[in-house]
């Protein structure tokens, strides 16, 4: 089972597939159904985002109302305090929630790799939040974090803290982060578990003979062998968190004030509440390029640092 290799490096395995025999167009016919759908529902919309980003278009004016305005949208973005506020919030959200999820996921993954009473059930429990739909989860947490009577504050009351959570512009973002971490930790631990199966057992035996401490074994053997998986998780979680949208649309609608208006929600507002589709497309494009650069940088950080490279 090459689970970890696939999981750790999905985009890297682009080596040429050995074909059987050149058979002209038959292979193309096999791809056609999928390709036509991808062109129609992904590629054409994508191209139109790029085109729309250079237009000024208010949906209400209909397709005839599209006017090209060159790089005006991008100039406006650079001067738009709402945009930069949203970028800042997104960065805080990503920088806090992603490392927290990965570190806790790693700890949990290592713990769940050991012999434990009821290990299979434990693994399922931690994974559960990941597969439940965002509305059911959002509604539940919204009630759990009710500042007056929610269960979370009933517990925290014992420690003398009473955060206002979604009712407070200071606590709304932390509340979203708590939910994101709760939802993602089980997923991380599961990916780490499959990577731990591939850890080099002989190295541990050699280290045991040398009398290495548990911490030394982790630092020298476990961590390097988990590095590709960590990079993979960081990349996918950064992409996922920078798109974080469902919970915000559902629970806070960007508020209170604009305290949870992250970049993807800002784009949604611009497009679907103010109908400024040209500007919304430009925001989407800029964000996409930004996330892409961030992703490539994270991916490159892996070079020369993993055990097998």
């Amino acid at each position: 089972m090459a689970t970890a290799t696939v999981a750790a490096a999905p985009a890297v395995r682009t080596e040429k597939a050995p074909g059987i025999k050149p058979r002209g167009w038959i292979g193309f016919l096999f791809i056609a159904p999928n390709l036509l759908g991808v062109i129609a529902f992904t590629l054409i919309p994508l191209i139109s985002v790029v085109v729309l980003a250079f237009t000024d278009w208010n949906l209400v004016s209909g397709l005839g109302g599209i006017t090209f305005n060159g790089i005006d949208n991008f100039v406006a973005i650079a001067r738009d305090p709402g945009f930069w506020h949203a970028i800042g919030l997104t960065l805080v959200y990503v920088v806090v929630s992603v490392p927290l999820t990965v570190v806790l996921g790693l700890a949990l993954g290592i713990a769940l790799d050991r012999p434990l009473p009821g290990r299979a059930v434990l693994r399922a429990i931690f994974f559960l939040p990941y597969i439940v739909n965002v509305v059911a989860i959002g509604m539940t947490w919204l009630m759990l974090m009710n500042p007056r009577a929610g269960l979370v504050n009933q517990v925290l009351d014992a420690f003398g803290i009473q955060p206002g959570w979604f009712a407070s512009s200071h606590w709304a973002l932390p509340a979203l982060i708590v939910m994101a971490v709760w939802g993602g930790v089980g997923y991380c631990s599961l990916i780490y578990l499959s990577a731990l199966q591939d850890a080099p057992r002989q190295l541990y035996e050699a280290a045991d003979i040398d009398g290495a401490s548990a911490w030394a074994k982790f630092r020298v053997i476990t961590w390097p062998s988990l590095l590709p998986t960590t990079i993979f998780l960081l990349v996918t979680l950064i992409i996922g968190a920078s798109q974080g949208f469902g919970l915000i649309a559902l629970i806070t609608a960007g508020g209170p004030g604009d305290s949870t208006t992250t970049i993807s929600y800002y784009m949604y507002q611009t497009g679907f509440q103010f109908y400024r589709f040209g500007y919304a497309s430009a925001i989407g494009l800029v964000t996409f390029v930004g996330v892409l650069v961030l992703t490539l940088l994270t991916w490159r950080a892996q070079r020369g640092r993993s055990l097998n490279d």
């Binding site: 682009t14 597939a17 036509l36 759908g37 597969i131 009577a149 497009g271």
Partner: protein, 272 residues
């Protein structure tokens, strides 16, 4: 060894119970009269058991059953469509040869990293023009043709030996026959893994219907849960939680019954 097993087990079980608390609260509240939902201190065992919450959300004007049916309809078509187009395309990318194949595959990989929200605006306009806006087809069609599914199937077929096809062709089998009779039967485990994932993605999808469906009579299940929130944002606790419990039952069944396959599928793709 046994002692250390329990030494680690106990804190993990405490953490697990804390993790489960929101779900326990969900079920408890679903069975409570609304006045008890925010009782201080929290009342875990409902008294009395208010089964009415479930009968209300399953019948009458506020029933989530039609939405449940629509979610099933969308999921079945999406899963079936994705399996058909992804196996064919994945097979061709891995096991057939034609001009431009590898360049096309790179293009596929590139589109896989496009964030879904970037496509919301153009899809919205596009589906309006096609007359598909506010219909279930707006949810079904894009889900039938996925790059990720194709990628997953290609990864599988590329690990299969080419000799089977060579031998079958010697015997005069055509390409379609080689695919359906030889390679497809081998792919059933991967197909079931992809099918499970595709079902869960479809079942839980909230963002697409939020943007592309406006008529509450066409809401799928996740969106229909918001029906129990009034104009002021006040949530009806018992009804919302009863409907939420109903919405997670199918995924829970898939997860419990097919746990091993599900987890293997998750770790194989590693992608939500």
């Amino acid at each position: 060894m046994t002692r250390s097993k329990w030494l680690w087990g106990i804190p993990l079980w405490i953490l697990a119970i804390a993790f489960l608390a929101p779900f326990a609260w969900m079920i408890s509240t679903a069975l409570k009269p609304d006045v008890d939902a925010y009782k201080i201190p929290m009342q875990w065992i409902p008294n009395p058991f208010q089964w009415d919450n479930f009968t209300t959300v399953l019948s009458g004007a506020t029933s989530v059953l039609p939405a449940f049916g629509r979610s099933v309809f969308v999921a079945v078509l999406r899963v079936a469509g994705e399996l058909i187009t992804a196996t064919m395309a994945g097979y061709a990318f891995a096991r057939m040869s034609f001009k431009g194949r590898d360049k096309l595959f790179l293009l596929y990989l590139a589109t896989a990293i496009i964030p879904a929200q970037l496509l919301l605006v153009p899809r919205f306009i596009y589906f309006q023009k096609l007359g598909l806006y506010d219909t279930l087809w707006a949810l079904i069609l894009p889900g039938m043709f996925t790059v990720l599914g194709t990628f997953l199937m290609r990864q599988f077929f590329i690990s299969q030996p080419a000799e089977f096809a060579e031998a079958a062709r010697m015997d005069g089998a055509n390409e379609w026959r080689v695919f359906t009779r030889i390679y497809l039967p081998l792919a059933t485990p991967v197909m079931s893994a992809l099918g499970i994932l595709a079902f869960v993605w479809s079942w839980n999808d909230f963002e697409t219907p939020l943007v592309l469906i406006s008529n509450p009579d066409r809401y799928t299940l996740p969106l229909s849960l918001t029906n129990f929130v009034d104009e002021q944002g006040q949530i009806a606790p018992g009804l919302t939680m009863a409907a939420s419990v109903i919405s997670i039952v199918p995924v829970l069944i898939v997860f419990v019954v097919l746990q091993r396959r599900f987890i293997a599928a998750m770790t194989h793709t590693g992608i939500k």
